[in-house]
């Protein structure tokens, strides 16, 4: 069942490629604006790089979160999903996984490329990639709760940012911290472990919270 749901969402995303591409372009442009604005001061660029890339990733995922359930809500397929004979948290988990693949994985893949603009070393770019790979599932998981809570509300886009961005702070701190540690020449491992722990915790709680929120939103 989960396989069909993920496949369905991936196919829908493919048919609406423009949505997916706009998220990636947003990320690339936001990250590129900083080196262009600051100029070729490599020391400063290296210092701000972890924060800039991570914050840009958080903001880019804000763009796609609103669509996570909204399209299905409007054409009535979401209520059909609620009425399929399996636990709702599995449905939410499937949609979250699809969201991660569609909206976050492209960012993870392109991040080392845009990171080059900040004069980062190969090793640091690798850590940036790993930290985003571990951190972006957190963005999708926690984001699913926000998306479910704001479903069908007017001005949901702003509300979702206000709800979700504060919850992203631990991921931001550990993710950017890992990259920073690598720039400083110390070991990024503790940050990576903490980020992984945070990802597991959000995997345990988010699907249930989002499922409960969906039930309320659809009443």
């Amino acid at each position: 069942m989960l396989r069909w749901l993920v496949w369905r969402d991936l196919m829908l995303a493919w048919r609406r490629r423009a949505d997916m591409l706009s998220t990636v372009f947003f990320f690339v442009i936001v990250v590129s604006l900083f080196p262009l604005g600051i100029g070729p001061e490599t020391q400063l660029l290296r210092t701000i790089a972890p924060g800039v890339v991570w914050v840009a990733a958080l903001l880019a995922s804000m763009l796609s979160l609103g669509r996570m359930f909204a399209n299905d809500y409007h054409d009535g397929t979401l209520e059909q999903l609620l009425l399929t004979p399996q636990p709702l948290f599995l449905v939410v988990l499937g949609k979250t996984l699809a969201h991660w693949i569609v909206a976050e994985v492209p960012l993870v893949l392109i991040a080392p490329l845009v990171g080059v603009q900040f004069d980062l070393s190969g090793e640091t770019l690798r850590i940036l990639f790993v930290s985003l790979l571990l951190g972006t599932p957190v963005l999708s998981l926690i984001g699913s709760v926000g998306a479910a809570l704001t479903l069908g509300l007017r001005g949901g886009g702003v509300l979702i940012s206000i709800l979700v961005l504060p919850l992203y702070i631990p991921a931001l701190i550990f993710g950017a911290g890992a990259v920073e540690a690598s720039i400083m020449g110390t070991t990024p491992t503790p940050h990576i472990y903490l980020l992984g722990a945070f990802a597991i915790v959000s995997l345990l709680f988010s699907p249930w919270a989002a499922a409960a929120a969906l039930r309320i939103s659809l009443e």
């Binding site: 069909w4 048919r15 609406r16 209520e79 399929t84």
Partner: protein
């Protein structure tokens, strides 16, 4: 395929019959007691009692805003009732959970059809998500029966309103659920499609199923027994 279809139906009839006889009378498998619904600060209905036995068609009527949609959404479990309870085969639907959902097909007044996907993909995916995986050939045959031959691979957004409705209704041909809850599904359907829905419901009823349909159109079914439930404001 047609033969297996028929044999399945008779099998279901037998089950329904045994259900009639074993308790020395007809068992009501859907029981609604003292159901009340409040939306916002308005009470739509209260004290609604209903017991439905297999093979029953219930036509749900009432003026706009009288709570037809809310009643159907309560019956399928999307909406929690303000008071009262619903029992399916003797168990409360809230505690039955997925077991109950597996017996129900609900079609809302929104089609539940993805515009980006073709009719074929819509049908196969919706059924797979409901645990009924069907082959491509079977899906094509079903769509042909629904009068969508030649349009199976078009994205649903290119179909007309009525055709999209037909895509949604195609599920009824495939699902093997006992309780159908249909909300205004006859709107924007032509005469042929209405006749098709009528025969679908007749088959469903003679197989021991239950259909609760919110509609103002008289269907005049030749199978099962028809009840009317009118909600007032």
């Amino acid at each position: 395929m047609a033969a297996s279809e028929r044999s399945r139906r008779t099998a279901r009839e037998d089950i329904a019959d045994s259900r009639y006889n074993s308790a020395g009378g007809r068992i009501d498998i859907l029981e609604v007691s003292k159901l009340g619904c409040v939306r916002g600060d308005r009470r739509l209905f209260s004290g609604l009692d209903l017991s439905v036995s297999p093979g029953t068609y219930i036509q749900l009527t009432g003026p706009n805003g009288s709570g037809k949609t809310s009643l159907l959404r309560i019956l399928c479990g999307l909406l929690a009732p303000a008071e009262g309870e619903i029992k399916w085969n003797g168990g409360n639907i809230r505690s039955l959970g997925e077991e109950y959902v597996a017996d129900v097909t609900y079609l809302g007044h929104r089609h539940g059809v993805k515009e980006e996907l073709s009719a074929l993909e819509n049908l196969r995916i919706t059924n797979a998500l409901n645990g009924v995986e069907i082959s491509k050939e079977r899906a094509l045959a079903v769509l042909k029966e629904m009068g969508l031959a030649g349009r199976e691979s078009l994205p649903a957004r290119l179909l007309s309103e009525g055709q999209r409705r037909r895509v949604g209704l195609a599920r009824l041909l495939v699902c093997n659920t006992k309780l159908w809850l249909l909300d205004e599904v006859l709107t924007s359907l032509d005469k042929g499609a209405v006749a098709l829905v009528r025969s679908l419901i007749e088959n469903h009823l003679s197989g021991g199923g239950i259909a609760i349909v919110a509609t103002h159109q008289e269907l005049e079914l030749s199978a099962g027994h028809t009840k009317r439930l009118e909600l007032t404001t």
